[in-house]
């Protein structure tokens, strides 16, 4: 992904809308890049597998069993993906509610990332549904299962996608040059942010609450009535680690889009985020210790699952937390990025421990994802990155908004 030869897209400056869009759709930048060459074949195989899945049923591509009905597509794509998309609500909270202007330059890219994550993870959810054509039932009609946590999560996904689209819409208006629409949409941002943070609080924890009824099915070291709170707190540093990770890559790949002022400010942003990560991870670790003490499962620590639990807690919570603290004090940007990377792996491990690895850990027939489930997961991920790149190369996301915005 080297876009240094890319002609930087311009925002619309008085061209008729249709003509501008027709121009903008044309591909920009070289096609034969390593990223394209790796992702294209995988996506082709992935799309074939998706067709097979809809013709022959889920069993033709997935290894799911009657005891383990949710596998990689839910545990990784949806539950883990949504945790990583948590950066959008944390950053909008910091910028629009706490008025921390320093982080303003990364709001748009974070919201875009969050929005695409939700669109694609909700998309991945459709692949996992046996009867996806009935997905509208909980939204319209007379089939409201209001006592279901999943009902809440489904509604929140939908509403939050709308809220994030509203938060992002000023960028679209700036791009196509609709000044009046830009003014109206910009005025709706605060309401969308407040609504979005509220929704995020509830469905980040709601994803954990989904598993509350599976009390005896999840390994006791990972099941507790506090799953919703643990999921919520961890979504804060999961999302911010994703912001650090994505930002570090975007700074290189999309360097031509970023003004030198914002480029220099980026290290300062990472420095600030590392402090927030360290603090929230401390709270999270404290909650985990409390949960463990309350659970009274000391004897389980000396079992294989216990060692795995300790690995997660020490290697992927305590260690990156210490790294964040240390790198914050020493202003070591490389260590911040390393800590963010370890944290992300830790979040993946944690979510998979609750949803897949620790789920029916005692079953006679264990679930392992098939290669086809993994390829479909990668396909979803790659399609998302392609669309992300498409938008970044055109809309004013990383680059500064057009000058007329200031005069509105």
């Amino acid at each position: 992904m080297n876009n240094s030869n890319t002609i930087i897209a311009k925002d619309n400056d008085g061209m008729p809308l249709i003509k501008f869009l027709a121009e903008a759709i044309k591909s920009k930048g070289p096609f034969f890049t390593p990223f394209n060459m790796i992702s294209l074949p995988i996506m082709l195989v992935g799309f074939t597998l998706i067709v097979i899945r809809f013709v022959k049923g889920i069993g033709a591509v997935a290894n799911l069993t009657q005891e383990v009905p949710w596998g990689l597509w839910i545990g990784f794509d949806v539950v883990t993906g949504v945790a990583f998309a948590g950066g959008a609500y944390v950053i909008t909270f910091m910028v629009y509610i706490l008025n921390m202007k320093k982080y303003h330059s990364i709001v748009r890219v974070t919201v875009l990332n969050g929005f695409l994550a939700y669109v694609f993870y909700a998309g991945a959810l459709l692949l996992d549904l046996g009867k996806p054509w009935n997905v509208i039932n909980p939204i319209i009609g007379n089939s409201f299962g209001v006592s279901s946590v999943l009902f809440l999560v489904a509604w929140h996904f939908l509403l939050y996608m709308i809220a994030m689209l509203l938060e992002f819409s000023p960028a679209i208006a700036e791009w196509v040059g609709l000044k009046r629409a830009r003014k109206i949409l910009g005025g709706m941002t605060l309401a969308a942010v407040i609504f979005g943070i509220t929704l995020s609080t509830l469905h980040q924890s709601g994803l954990g609450a989904l598993y509350l009824m599976a009390k005896e099915k999840i390994h006791p070291l990972w099941y507790s009535e506090f799953i919703p709170i643990l999921f919520f707190i961890s979504s804060i540093f999961a999302g911010l680690s994703m912001v650090i990770f994505e930002g570090s890559i975007s700074q290189k790949v999309f360097a031509s889009q970023i003004s030198s002022k914002n480029h220099h400010a980026h290290d300062d942003i990472l420095h600030g985020l590392s402090k927030i990560c360290a603090l929230t991870m401390f709270v999270y670790f404290f909650m985990q210790v409390l949960t463990f003490v309350h659970g009274k499962h000391y004897e389980l620590l000396n079992t294989p699952m216990g060692y795995w639990y300790l690995t997660e807690m020490i290697g992927f919570v305590l260690l990156p937390m210490a790294l964040f603290f240390h790198s914050y004090r020493s202003r070591n940007i490389f260590l911040i990025k390393l800590a963010a990377f370890i944290t992300m792996i830790g979040v993946i491990i944690n979510r998979l421990n609750v949803t897949v690895i620790g789920f029916r850990w005692d079953a006679a027939q264990h679930y392992y994802p098939s290669w086809m489930e993994i390829v479909v997961t990668l396909t979803v991920l790659f399609v998302e990155i392609w669309i992300f790149r498409w938008i970044i190369n055109r809309l004013p996301v990383l680059r500064d908004p057009p000058s007329w915005v200031k005069n509105l």
Partner: protein, 289 residues
């Protein structure tokens, strides 16, 4: 901080919107009903393992006829699946060989129905927990939630159904017995209201205390179930899960669901408050400079 008309209307709008949404998402308690739940009492001391119930179930529900060579055997755990809704297994116990029938337990407060976001899984007023094709999304959250692992999914169908025993809902609502109860030659299965069945089970235990383990599986398990089990030995010897909680499973998510409306009301107000106070602070700071 000044409140003008525009701001006031804005706050009102956000709060109103949140209230509306909160209302929709609120957990609603199950309607009280005067009707009693029906259930089935299964007495494993009377079961002879003849599989009549399996055959009757298959023919009544249009499922493939059970493989005649696949008999209940000690050491072999046969499971229900998408093509068979009830199975009989044999267990070697301290009291000799005991046969145990398995099927959906028809919980009083079913986790599957509480989990279902479209009410496809549904606890009927007469007791059976039924599944409704036209509502189901195939999300399999019922399977994740069921403590007895009873809902099964047709993984190899492009239009998959969730299948499980529904205590022959159609037959029982027409006054007939469930197919398995009707077919049982040794009167191991009894159909009736749950209250009558519990009384009958307690009577059998007290009349023959040496014959029975002095508990009824399903009286308290998972908050009470429609199928009730009598056994000559402790239940773990005959493959029944005794680690299940003795209270309702949907209650586990109640705390979370009840917190939703309050968060929906409080959060926006708090966030708006922080926003206003932070902004007026920074404005003052800028004015002072």
């Amino acid at each position: 901080m000044n409140i003008n008309r525009r701001n006031f209307l804005g706050v009102l709008g956000v709060t109103g919107l949140s209230l509306c949404t909160g209302e929709k998402l609120k957990a609603s308690p199950v309607k009280e009903s005067k009707k009693e739940f029906f259930g089935v009492l299964y007495d494993s001391t009377r079961c002879v393992g003849c599989q009549s119930c399996e055959f009757a179930c298959a023919s009544s529900n249009g499922l493939p006829e059970p493989d005649a060579s696949d008999m209940p055997e000690v050491g072999k755990i046969r499971k229900t699946n998408e093509t068979r809704r009830t199975v009989v297994n044999a267990y070697n116990t301290s009291q000799g060989e005991v046969y145990v029938k398995k099927q959906c337990m028809q919980c009083n407060e079913p986790a599957c129905a509480a989990a279902c976001l479209t009410q496809a899984m549904y606890k009927t007023e007469s007791g059976p927990v039924i599944w409704r094709d036209e509502k189901c999304m195939g999300c399999r959250y019922c399977m994740v939630s069921c403590p007895f692992d009873m809902p099964k999914f047709e993984y190899n169908s492009p239009n998959p159904d969730i299948t499980k025993c529904d205590m022959c809902y159609e037959r029982t609502s027409e006054g007939q017995l469930p197919a398995c109860v009707e077919a049982c030659p040794s009167e191991a299965l009894t159909f009736g209201t749950r209250r009558e069945l519990l009384a009958e089970a307690h009577r059998r235990i007290s009349e023959n205390p040496e014959m029975y383990h002095p508990q009824i599986y399903g009286e308290a398990e998972a908050g009470g179930t429609g199928f009730l089990y009598l056994s000559p030995v402790p239940f773990e010897e005959i493959g029944l899960n005794t680690s299940l909680q003795k209270s309702s499973y949907p209650a586990l998510t109640k705390g979370f669901l009840y917190s939703v409306p309050s968060i929906f009301v409080l959060w926006p107000a708090i966030l708006l408050g922080i926003h206003k106070s932070v902004r007026s602070n920074t404005n003052e700071a800028e004015d002072n400079e």
